[in-house]
Symmetry: C2
Subunit: 249 residues, 2 copies
C-alpha cells in the first residue's frame, strides 16, 4: 500500500465545486470515479482545498492510497486519459503514508482575477470576474497591506463556517493590473477560512472604488464581524494557484 499525491488543475465552470456530493458533478467525484476505474480498487481522495462551485485550480492537491503497481509518476498520464478535458492532473508522486494535505503545514497561494474595463472580453469571461467600475490599484494595494500577518479573520469568513478558531496567517497579498486590464489579487497564507479569499477580494474591490478607505481594512479585522467587510466576490475570478508543503511535515 502506498500514498500518492496528485496536483490537480481544473476549469471549475461546469462543476459543483470540489467536494463529492450525491446528485452533483464535482471534481472529487470525477477523480474518485476515474481513479477507481483505472486502479480497479475503490478510491477516495483527500483534497487540500475544497474549492467552491465555479472556482478554478492550477495546483490543488489530493492524496489517496493504492496497492497499484503502476509507477507513481506515471499515474497522472494514465489518469488524464480517463478524465474530461476540464480536469487535468499535472503531477503524481509517492508521499509518506502519514502525509495528510489538510493536516500538515502548507502555504497556499490563490489569485483573484478581475477584468476591469467598460466592456467584457468574451475569451476571458470564464476565468475573470468582470467589473465595470474603475478600480484604483494603489488604494487596493494599501488596503491589502493590512491583511498581511497573523490576524483573526472572522470578518472575512462566511457565517456558514464551522471553524471555531478564525485566526489565520497571511504571508503576502499583492494587487497588480496587467496590460489586458486584469487586476490580480495574489494571496499566500498558511490557511484560509470558508470564502475568505472571495470576501477579501470583495472588500478590496470596495476599497478600489472608494467605498471603503484603505486604512479601514485594519478596523474591519478588529470588528470580527462578517458584516463589517465587503461582499463575497463571485467564484469565476478565483483560482487555487499552488500549495507548498514543507518537508518533515
Amino acid at each position: 500500500m502506498k500514498r500518492i499525491k496528485l496536483v490537480v488543475a481544473y476549469d471549475g465552470t461546469n462543476y459543483c465545486g470540489w467536494q463529492a456530493q450525491p446528485n452533483a458533478v464535482t471534481i472529487e467525484g470525477v477523480l474518485n470515479e476515474a481513479l477507481s476505474q483505472l486502479l480497479g480498487e475503490e478510491i477516495c481522495v483527500i483534497g487540500a482545498s475544497r474549492t467552491d462551485s465555479g472556482v478554478h485550480s492550477l495546483g490543488n492537491v489530493a492524496v489517496f492510497d493504492t496497492g497499484t503497481r503502476i509507477p507513481p509518476e506515471k499515474i497522472c498520464y494514465a489518469l488524464n486519459q480517463r478524465l474530461p478535458e476540464d480536469i487535468v492532473v499535472q503531477d503524481s508522486s509517492e508521499v509518506p503514508l502519514q502525509f495528510h494535505p489538510r493536516k500538515c503545514y502548507s502555504e497556499k497561494t490563490y489569485e483573484y482575477r478581475i477584468l476591469n474595463r467598460k466592456i467584457p472580453v468574451p475569451t476571458l469571461r470564464r476565468h475573470t470576474y468582470f467589473y465595470y467600475r474603475s478600480l484604483d490599484v494603489s488604494r487596493m494595494q494599501q488596503g491589502a497591506s493590512y491583511l498581511v500577518g497573523r490576524h483573526d479573520f472572522k470578518s472575512f469568513c462566511s457565517v456558514k463556517t464551522q471553524a471555531e478558531d478564525t485566526v489565520r496567517k497571511i504571508l503576502s497579498c499583492s494587487v497588480e493590473k496587467s496590460a489586458e486590464d486584469v487586476v490580480t489579487i495574489r494571496i499566500t497564507g498558511t490557511g484560509f477560512l470558508y470564502n475568505m479569499v472571495r470576501i477579501i477580494a470583495g472588500t478590496l474591490i470596495s476599497v478600489g472604488i472608494g467605498e471603503i478607505q484603505p486604512q479601514a481594512v485594519a478596523q474591519i479585522l478588529e470588528q470580527k464581524n462578517r458584516r463589517a467587510a465587503g461582499p463575497t466576490a463571485p467564484p469565476e475570478g478565483l483560482i487555487m494557484m499552488k500549495i507548498n508543503f514543507h518537508k518533515n511535515s
Copy 2:
C-alpha cells in the same frame, strides 16, 4: 442613412466561423439577427476578417448601414444586450459611407498562442493550441524574421484559396514565451491569405522542434508551393487581435 463600424470580440469555440451560412451558427449570422431585431431593419454586416471555425477575436471589424436614430456610440451597449456572452461588441462609431473594411488600407494583427508544456492546462484549453514537444523560441524568432517584408506567400496559403495575387506584406512577426508556458507568435500585415497565419504558425512550430531549419523559411517562400511549408496549425490558437485603418482611406 449612415454607416456604422463595430469592433467585435468573440470566443469562436462554438461558432462555424465568421461568414453567414445556411444551417450553421456563425458570428456574422448572429450579428445580423441581433442588429436586425434591435434596429427594425434588415441588416447585413460586412466583416474585415472572415475568421475560420473555432478562431477567436478581440478586435475584428464589421460595418453596416442603418437609418436608426440611436447614437452611433450607444449601439454597442444596446446590441450587447441581445448578443450571447461569447460575442461582445467593444465599440461602435460612425464612418464615411464609402468606408469598406476589406477594400481600404489596413494593418491587421493576429496572435497564434501555443501552450508548450508536457501537460495541458484546463483553463487555457479553449484559447491556446496545446503542443507537447519543446519549442526552441530563438529558432522560431530567426525563422519568423524571413517572413517580414513583401513576399509571394503562395507557400503559406491554403490550396483552396481563390486569390490570384498571393503577394502580401508582413510588417512584423515576433515570437515570445510567457511565464505561463505560452509561446505567442504575433504577426502584423496589410493583408493575409486563406489560412496564412495558421500555416505560418505550423511552419514556425516545425522550425521550433528542429524539423525545418530557420533559414529554410526563405526557401519555402521561394518555392511558392503549399507543400513546402509546415502543417496548418489548429484554429483554437488563433486570435484576430486588432485592425488599424489609416485615415483618408
